[in-house]
């Protein structure tokens, strides 16, 4: 065995070093392309998913949503919020109540959910206060003020997905009328308009919790959104809150993802399909390179066998060469990806309706793809080598 490995290694080194450098270059280049492609696709889709999820968490759900078990709302929310904020790993918590209503300005009308929020704590969980495109976010003492999502206000931004259903040309400082259920009607001044570039959250409208108490007296807190510090598992915080109260139920951001989850799940499937296709291309490349080379080397292999080099040794020499191509190709591909593709994409990121998408470098995935490529290369080289070895020595040398 040791002798076979030694001779196979010797033959493989000579095969690579002294055979056609064009062939070597092409084989390695193809592996580089395949490796960069598979990592690029995967990183891009992961980046895309990450961007969407990040938007969802930062503008829509937080990491954990606390809900009442019954429809009466959350009891003693102030105490509960204080307790939640004391839990290790909680970065912020804020409460929300909401009611559906119709907004109008002039002839334009739009349906929206009016949320009563605590402006002092809302920014601890959500980025919305930082994403104002007009005016300012609410403060605790604001009266008769409302903040609108861009998909509701329109704000003359016709590229918005739901612009046609919006109020179209409402801007900060304008007056809008809100028709609450039961016929109660109130006019507000638009204090600001925000654009999170996540259209579900850009459909929100906010008034202060004090203001909400005026239009919906006795309205209880319907949900508490919690933001966690990086790396803190949702389950840990949920378990801690369960120890405090038994009248609550919990949803993680993934459970609240709704259509986003279906969307990201689809992308994950697409990612796997594209990855499989790229691996298949790599396998076919190695197969073709080995096959074409073996056709030209049939006589040489016959001679090797005639002088006593056994079949496993010859096959192993071609396996080692395929291994060399794959390891060098993957290594160069990894360097190209990490030091060229990723920095360039970071400088010029892709833009989608949810914001910028950055390639998400995942070293574990890169290693896994390299290992898969190596395994595939071994199989792809084995098939033609094994087929050639099965030809009789006479046929191999003299081509009978």
């Amino acid at each position: 065995m040791r002798k076979s490995i030694s001779v196979a290694n010797f033959l493989a080194r000579k095969l690579v070093a002294r055979s056609n450098w064009g062939l070597n270059f092409m084989a390695i280049f193809m592996i580089v392309i395949v490796y960069v492609n598979i990592n690029f696709t995967s990183s891009l889709l992961n980046g895309f998913i990450s961007t969407v999820n990040e938007k969802l968490i930062s503008s829509q759900t937080g990491n954990v949503v606390v809900l009442p078990k019954n429809s009466d709302g959350i009891e003693s929310p102030v105490v509960l919020l204080d307790d939640i904020r004391k839990i290790n790993g909680v970065a912020g918590a804020t409460e929300t109540r909401s009611v559906p209503a119709e907004l109008s300005k002039g002839q334009e009308k739009s349906l929206a959910e009016i949320s009563g929020i605590n402006p002092s704590t809302y920014g601890d969980v959500f980025v919305t206060p930082k994403n104002m495109i007009e005016g300012e976010f609410l403060t605790k003492d604001d009266k008769d003020k409302i903040v609108l999502g861009a998909q509701i206000a329109g704000a003359d931004i016709s590229r918005l997905e739901l612009y046609s259903d919006s109020l179209k040309n409402v801007h900060a400082g304008d007056k809008v009328t809100v028709n609450y259920p039961g016929g109660f009607k109130k006019e507000y001044t638009v204090k600001g308009i925000f654009l999170n570039e996540f259209f579900e959250s850009d459909l929100k409208t906010f008034i202060t919790d004090n203001e909400y108490g005026l239009v919906q007296p006795g309205g209880k807190v319907e949900s508490i959104n919690i933001k966690l510090e990086k790396g803190v598992p949702e389950s840990y915080v949920i378990d801690q809150i369960k120890k405090l109260r038994s009248d609550l139920q919990f949803r993680t951001w993934e459970e609240r993802a709704g259509f986003v989850k279906g969307f990201t799940d689809t992308l994950k499937v697409v990612n796997r399909i594209l990855g499989f296709a790229a691996i298949l291309v790599a396998a076919i490349t190695i197969f073709i390179v080995t096959y074409v080379d073996l056709i030209n080397k049939r006589r040489q292999i016959g001679i090797e066998r005639a002088i006593g080099i056994n079949a496993p040794t010859i096959i192993l020499s071609y396996e080692l060469r395929a291994l060399f191509y794959t390891i060098i190709g993957s290594s160069i591909g990894a360097l190209v990806f990490i030091y060229a593709v990723v920095p360039i994409e970071r400088a010029y990121p892709f833009k989608i309706p949810y914001g910028k998408v950055f390639l998400q470098l995942n070293y574990n995935n890169m290693i896994i793809y390299a290992v898969i490529l190596v395994a595939v290369a071994i199989v792809a080289a084995l098939i033609p080598a094994w087929r050639t070895i099965r030809i009789s020595i006479i046929d191999a040398i003299w081509g009978n």
Binding site: R2, K3, S6, V7, F10, L11, K14, L15, A17, R18, S19, R299, Q300, I303, E304, R305, A306, I307, G308, I309, N310, A311, T313, S392, I393, I394, I397, N400
Partner: protein
């Protein structure tokens, strides 16, 4: 040392059967230099390949040192070829990616000899065939005669009991051919290596201790010199 008994070989070309050897019995004696002669298509190369365990007879048996080796698995035949036989092919048959030195020591490396041992022996053999100054050359950088002498050195590297040479001078000019035959003759005389060579050139028989003639796959004449 090597005996072929009642051996026949029939090649199949589609549905057509082409007999190449017909009931041949031949014994190779230790230390002899046997020349197999015959016209083109007489079956001499087929006989050599069967004797050298590169091919198998359709019928008949082969004995090496009294042991039937005709039906052994390829793995075992490969080992026998490596340890006890050397080959010189008509078409030089060197590995194009290896230098002359590497071509010579490859079978010894496969046998598991130590690098210093096989490299020293390969250098000695290349010196013996007059190619010491060409040992780092690739086959394409050598003439036909030089390549054939490298092939002889390779055939000798594992100190084989027997060397088979299939028309070793066929593709060489007369001077290079003579050089190759003299090298084989020198090996036979100095190392007592048994040599079986195929030739259709009558002038080569002077190197042989025995000549076997083939016609249509049958031995027709044995003429001691």
């Amino acid at each position: 040392m090597l005996k072929i008994k009642n051996a026949s070989k029939i090649y199949k070309l589609g549905d057509v059967e082409v007999p190449a050897l017909n009931n041949v019995t031949l014994t190779i004696k230790e230390g002899e230099m046997l020349c197999i002669m015959g016209r083109s298509g007489s079956g001499k190369s087929t006989l050599l390949r069967i004797l050298g365990l590169i091919d198998s007879p359709t019928k008949g048996k082969i004995y090496l040192s009294g042991k039937d080796v005709g039906k052994l698995k390829e793995k075992v035949r490969s080992r026998i070829r490596l340890e006890t036989m050397g080959y010189v092919f008509q078409e030089y048959a060197l590995l194009s990616e290896l230098t002359a030195l590497e071509n010579v020591y490859l079978p010894a490396k496969m046998l598991g000899r130590w690098p210093k041992e096989y490299k020293d022996r390969a250098i000695t053999l290349l010196d013996a065939v007059g190619l010491l100054n060409r040992m780092k050359h690739l086959p394409r950088q050598l003439s036909g005669g030089q390549q054939q002498r490298v092939a002889i050195a390779r055939a000798m590297v594992n100190k084989p009991e027997i060397i088979f040479a299939d028309e070793p001078t066929a593709n060489l000019d007369s001077k290079a051919g003579k050089n190759v035959m003299e090298t084989l003759y020198w090996l036979n005389k100095n190392y007592k290596t048994t040599i079986v060579f195929v030739s259709h050139d009558e002038s080569d028989k002077k190197y042989a201790s025995r000549v076997v003639r083939l016609l249509d796959g049958r031995i027709v004449k044995r003429k001691p010199i």
